[in-house]
Symmetry: C2
Subunit: 387 residues, 2 copies
């Protein structure tokens, strides 16, 4: 894969945000090095990086055909963690997912872990260490952010070096393959221990409507814009560097993931950026940044495939925007001017007043291996193959 | 890529038609060998096979964005031949295509040839050797089959070992990558000098309508059915082995391509099968089969990606069916019972009587290198980069 080498980055304290790169060729392993491009230098490097990178697929009642395509597209070298929040009764969608993953394991033999977010064993392990993560049922809350958090601990238990996320509602297996190849390429390129790559879809469309290729989703457009304005106000020079505020498809070193504070629900992707900027930009003088004396590197890559996913409806988009903006509003990034900007933006969406503060969780200082062993050893719902 | 190893094939004279294989994993180069699966054993094998395989993209006024995605998806090791039948005036779509290919060449450096099917130099070279290929303008006829025929001669001129075809109207670059990886995997696996792989789309949909994933196109359903019945009648045992009668996505050894008689227009893909069965099944006793004492191996693979392409309309489908069935009707495969079956099938489509005989061309015994040099040396419209 040839990815354009980003010609510049902006520095916010110890956070380097790179300009958007583009994919110039989907498959170019080992091909000649060229100025202005990055490419994995040989197949062994790709294989090594892939083996060290766990791919996490969060799922909640997705179409089984679609989930199957996603799993088949992930290169066989990477272990898979499927974190499900699907129904278990009356129709047991979770058992369908488990069977899809198991069937694929029988073919590929790759390590595969399937956990249910509402597994009581997980609640028992995490509840005492992560304030607020359990709901009134005493189980881990539903929500994408909560699922990703669980997966970070499991990936740490597998001793993985990197973790990459792929949404389960992707109709195009070939796009999933592109995402993973981008992850490998960038994670291989970055020299920082604290590295992240976030994807911007070249085009997006929904499976349920006439195919119309949009350049950017509505949530991304609005939240990118607010985040860029907040950064502009701080540095007193305009910027449009952030293109991936709501990027579901992203990957990072596990070392970085363990330093991030995760938000609940759909605020998770924006909160990652906010959390890093709070610690390593605003808080850098106060010794809040774990990456020092190094840097945090955030790469952004535009994919070549269109992203075709299931349509979740208008109210889902609005909800996602409110949750995302709330992480900015309730952060150390904003002063009164910044807060006013968020309120104004929400007003345009017919939402009045302050957004509710997001649920936020720090990764607990659990031993990942112990957590993994406990879950796999005691759970009746979560299972692993080849681990 | 893990592809299921076909567990059986049927033999028609010297033609072996393998049962449909399926893609179990999009990316598994070098991964452990497993019974029942095939996989390219290491990256060097993939690279070597890819370098020896020319990928041909026939194009006629396709959306430039779509064509660009197709070209970016073809692994950089394979030379590309773009055969265009696009308009040159008033809007010069051909120059847009040339510029897309040139831009990509600047990035990848791979050998790239762009020829126009209506190039007078090509007409001058082919006219005397291929009866009927020129139209009243003295130029090579419009038609997909005619374009593919030109590309076979050019690939031979490049001294390529294999040639693979990818339609230019594919909205999913990731699907194109899958097609090429299937080509490499099967061409690497086959031990015959006369090898072919034909793809069946796992799902198909159109870019212009609600996304609905069909299992099989209408033309394929009808033409596969007729071809299978014809074979059943001959062998006196029913078969449904043929799944890829109209497979636009297919690849083969150049050695095999040079022995096939190509049909004009959209009959080309069906005619390839008909032509091979005529020579090496019906004609095998009469010494008509060039592969002897070897076999012709025809593999069929079902892709995992959906195929999303532009909608060409109902009349296009009917036309394609008529053209395809005519190659069967006017072949040595059918007796009076077979002919009646074709007539009946056409009647169901409201077409009365005999279909017109297809245009058919044998590959002339030209020196491919001389043809390539002539075209590149003398043409004002066709160009090459890195050749």
């Amino acid at each position: 894969m040839y990815i354009s080498y980003p010609s510049r980055f902006e520095t916010y304290g110890a956070v380097k945000i790179y300009e958007l790169s583009k994919v110039y060729s989907l498959f170019a392993i080992k091909a000649e090095w060229k100025p202005g491009l990055y490419n994995i230098p040989n197949f062994n490097e790709l294989e090594k990086t892939a083996e060290k990178t766990v791919i996490v697929v969060p799922s909640r009642n997705e179409d089984p055909m679609v989930l199957e395509g996603v799993l088949k597209a992930i290169p066989v070298y990477s272990p898979i963690i499927l974190v499900s929040a699907s129904t278990q009764a009356p129709l047991n969608m979770y058992s369908v997912e488990t069977d899809i993953a198991k069937t694929l394991y029988k073919v590929t033999g790759r390590p595969t872990i399937i956990v249910h977010q509402r597994d009581p064993v997980i609640a028992e392990e995490l509840g005492p260490h992560i304030p607020g993560i359990l709901d009134e049922d005493g189980l881990v809350r539903y929500g994408k952010g909560e699922g990703l958090l669980i997966s970070v601990l499991l990936a740490d238990g597998l001793n993985a070096e990197n973790i990459g996320f792929i949404d389960a509602d992707n109709y195009i297996p070939g796009a999933v393959l592109e995402y993973t190849l981008i992850y490998y390429t960038i994670l291989n390129m970055s020299e920082s221990d604290y590295r992240m790559v976030r994807l911007s879809w070249g085009y997006k469309a929904w499976s349920s409507t006439d195919l119309y290729f949009r350049r950017m989703g509505r949530a991304s457009t609005i939240v990118n814009n607010v985040l860029n304005k907040i950064l502009s106000l701080r540095r007193r020079a305009e910027t449009d560097i952030v293109k991936t505020s709501n990027s579901g498809e992203h990957a990072m070193s596990v070392k970085l993931a363990k330093e991030i504070s995760f938000a609940g629900g759909y605020a998770v992707e924006t909160q990652e950026l906010v959390s890093l900027l709070e610690a390593c930009y605003i808080g850098v003088e106060d010794g809040m940044c774990p990456a020092l004396p190094g840097n945090i590197e955030i790469y952004q890559v535009e994919t070549r495939n269109p992203h075709i996913h299931s349509e979740k409806g208008e109210s889902h988009v609005i909800e996602m925007i409110i949750e995302s903006l709330s992480t900015i509003y309730h952060s150390k990034l904003v002063d009164s001017k910044g807060k006013a900007l968020v309120i104004d933006t929400l007003m345009d969406l017919a939402y009045e007043g302050e957004p509710p503060p997001p649920l936020k969780y720090s990764i607990p200082s659990l031993n990942g291996k112990d957590f993994l062993d406990k879950v796999l050893g005691e759970s009746k719902t979560s299972v692993a193959y080849g681990v």
